[in-house]
């Protein structure tokens, strides 16, 4: 187990290094630096050109690529992600992310819980009564969910519930000045969580259905039934316990998808989270910020996978890692 863990950790470290090289290298290709717009603002063009040159030197942007990467990497390893160029000029990127991280984790966490809370019962119903009316309805629903362009769904919800009906706030996380108002918080959360959960519910319920179907065919289920254990108990204890294993893996693997969804959802609902921050960074060429968030999300993904593996081992004693 320890050897397995060590090997995985090493592999993951190499993976993260690989990602950092790719991301750093590719962003280097984008023309333009943080001070380009100064060339337009000044009344003296020559003075502006001299100024831009000097500021680039101060940030080390005149250095060759490998040197810049090395400086960045060594600093990043000790938690210094550099300063933001355009989104929050001069601010440490780490602090910027910190201010948004909580909001994103709240959104992602709630969506994961919410989607599982829906997907689990409907997946089980489908599996227990396959080819029933319910099963067909649920299947149809999940197909709709899988085929729905999320952003379009989000925008349509915004129009209906905020603009036409005026029931829900049109965006943001809280009403300023109402930081402790729990109702206000919940109202702001409804649409982003629903939109982010939609695709998850669709995929998860399909997955739980098939996983459960597989389990219910097993001998021990039949044995349990033969012994006179009530059907509901068989499903919920024996069946679910075994069917949940692949679901755990799925949750680990879904983190990248969830984060991807967060970028779109946060952008639509102006949710002050990392996804929107990332997109802002991309659109404003704030490379230190983009690099840091990419690395952080890669870290989340890699960590999620590792946790899923470990959880698997904990839940299923048959599994041993070498």
């Amino acid at each position: 187990m320890r050897a397995f863990l060590l090997r995985r950790l090493l592999q993951n470290a190499i993976l993260l290094l690989f990602i950092s090289v790719i991301v750093y290298g590719i962003l280097y290709l984008v023309p333009g630096g943080p001070f380009d717009q100064l060339n337009f603002g000044a009344t003296s063009a020559t003075a502006a050109a001299a100024q831009v040159k000097r500021l680039n030197e101060l940030l080390g942007l005149d250095r060759p690529l490998y040197e810049r990467y090395w400086t960045w990497l060594t600093k990043a390893l000790v938690g210094d992600w550099g300063m933001s160029w355009t989104v929050a000029f001069g601010q440490p990127v780490g602090r910027l992310i910190e201010s948004r991280l909580g909001n994103t984790l709240l959104l992602m966490g709630l969506s994961a819980v919410f989607s599982l809370a829906i997907a689990l019962p409907i997946g089980i119903i489908s599996a227990v009564r396959p080819y029933s009316v319910w099963d067909y309805l649920i299947t149809a629903f999940s197909f709709f969910g899988l085929s729905m362009p999320t952003f379009w769904f989000g925008v349509m919800m915004l129009i209906i519930f905020s603009v036409v009906l005026g029931w829900l706030p049109a965006g943001g996380a809280i009403t300023p000045g109402k930081a402790n108002d729990i109702v206000d918080r919940i109202l702001h959360l409804i649409m982003p969580v629903v939109v982010l959960s939609l695709v998850q519910v669709a995929g998860q319920s399909r997955f739980i259905r098939s996983s459960m179907l597989e389990v219910l065919k097993q001998d021990y289920i039949r044995t349990a039934r033969a012994k006179g254990v009530p059907w509901a108990r068989v499903v919920l204890t024996h069946g679910l316990r075994n069917a949940i294993l692949p679901v755990i893996t799925l949750l680990g693997l879904e983190i990248p998808q969830l984060f991807g969804g967060a970028i779109i959802t946060e952008t639509i609902f102006t949710w002050p989270g990392m996804g929107r921050l990332f997109f802002e960074g991309i659109s404003k060429n704030d490379w230190p910020l983009v690099q840091a968030i990419t690395m952080l999300s890669a870290f989340l993904v890699v960590g999620g996978n590792l946790l899923a593996d470990l959880a698997y081992a904990v839940v299923d004693p048959r599994i041993r890692y070498e």
Partner: protein, 309 residues
């Protein structure tokens, strides 16, 4: 799921049996009513899009400022957009780009996936480790952030844009969707080829002196066709959505080419005045992807009932 799949066809069957196999698949597919509906819908929409230059009532780019955001009428069935262009005609032309992008990106992904998966499984050893570890790495990347970074970089990279002209955005989208889209196929083929490799017919071919290349591409890959076909069908649907998402975020298809996604992103400014402008392309995407998913599901059942997850 990526467990090794049993082959759907045996290689050493006679030609007549192949026909009956196809017939069997078709018979099973036909039973799946939603699948049948799906394939009909896709067929009709794809046909209409391909024939757009001949059947579309207007061209997609001719503005008519006397009829901006016109209501549906006999001459404009779905009304007109913010420049007075016919929405129906634009949907048809946009479909060409959206379908082309997703189809090409899927085909390229399948090609790369098949190549990587089969080579890794067939040769094994260090090549296997390198290729499949790379596949795992790619699978565990946060894809949307990287997709956005790649699209942004490629778009901003002057020489590329100058070389490709009007079609830059189309090529870029296809490229990024391919880069991040081949891994699942690779794993599927890997599992399938791994189990087939040990079978007698492979041994027999090798004994008869067939080259590795020949064995892989005439025996092993065709025998893994079923899961590949299913993955391809479903892949087209997810790529239509991916293209639309990128366009929505402003990193997708740009004019003069219209796509369903770019039609959606362009009308954000008119959400209050005319939500229908956003409704039509969104609904089109929903219908097409839904149809593809139904067809893909039916195809999976038909090709091999055991494949149903």
């Amino acid at each position: 799921m990526t467990v090794p799949m049993p082959p759907a066809f045996d290689d050493d069957v006679l030609a007549t049996e192949e026909v009956s196999q196809a017939r069997l698949v078709w018979r099973r597919f036909r039973r799946h009513r939603l699948g049948l509906l799906g394939i009909t819908v896709i067929g009709l929409i794809a046909l209409a899009c391909i024939l757009a230059p001949w059947i579309a009532p207007y061209t997609f780019d001719k503005p008519d400022t006397s009829n901006i955001m016109g209501t549906p009428s006999a001459s404009h069935w779905l009304g007109t957009d913010e420049l007075g262009r016919d929405v129906l005609s634009r949907l048809l032309y946009a479909g060409r780009i959206s379908l082309l992008v997703s189809l090409v990106a899927t085909l390229l992904s399948i090609m790369i996936g098949v190549l990587v998966g089969s080579i890794a499984a067939y040769f094994g050893g260090a090549l296997d480790t390198v290729l499949m570890r790379f596949t795992d790495i790619m699978l565990s990347l946060p894809s949307l952030p990287l997709l956005l970074i790649f699209s942004k970089t490629l778009r901003d990279f002057g020489p590329l844009r100058r070389a490709l002209g009007d079609n830059t955005s189309v090529v870029i989208i296809i490229t990024v969707l391919t880069i991040f889209g081949w891994m699942n196929v690779a794993r599927l083929v890997y599992g399938s080829v791994l189990s087939l490799k040990a079978r007698e017919f492979t041994e027999a071919s090798r004994a008869l002196g067939a080259s590795s290349f020949r064995i892989i591409f005439t025996h092993l890959v065709p025998n893994s066709a079923a899961p590949i076909i299913v993955a391809m069908t479903l892949g087209i649907g997810s790529r239509i959505i991916a293209e639309a998402s990128l366009s929505f975020l402003g990193l997708g298809i740009v004019p003069p080419n219209p796509s369903w996604g770019s039609m959606l992103s362009g009308v954000q400014a008119y959400m209050f005045r005319n939500p229908w402008l956003a409704f039509y392309p969104g609904l089109t995407i929903l219908i097409v992807v839904l149809a593809i998913n139904f067809a893909g599901d039916a195809l999976r059942d038909a090709l091999d009932p055991r494949l149903k997850n």
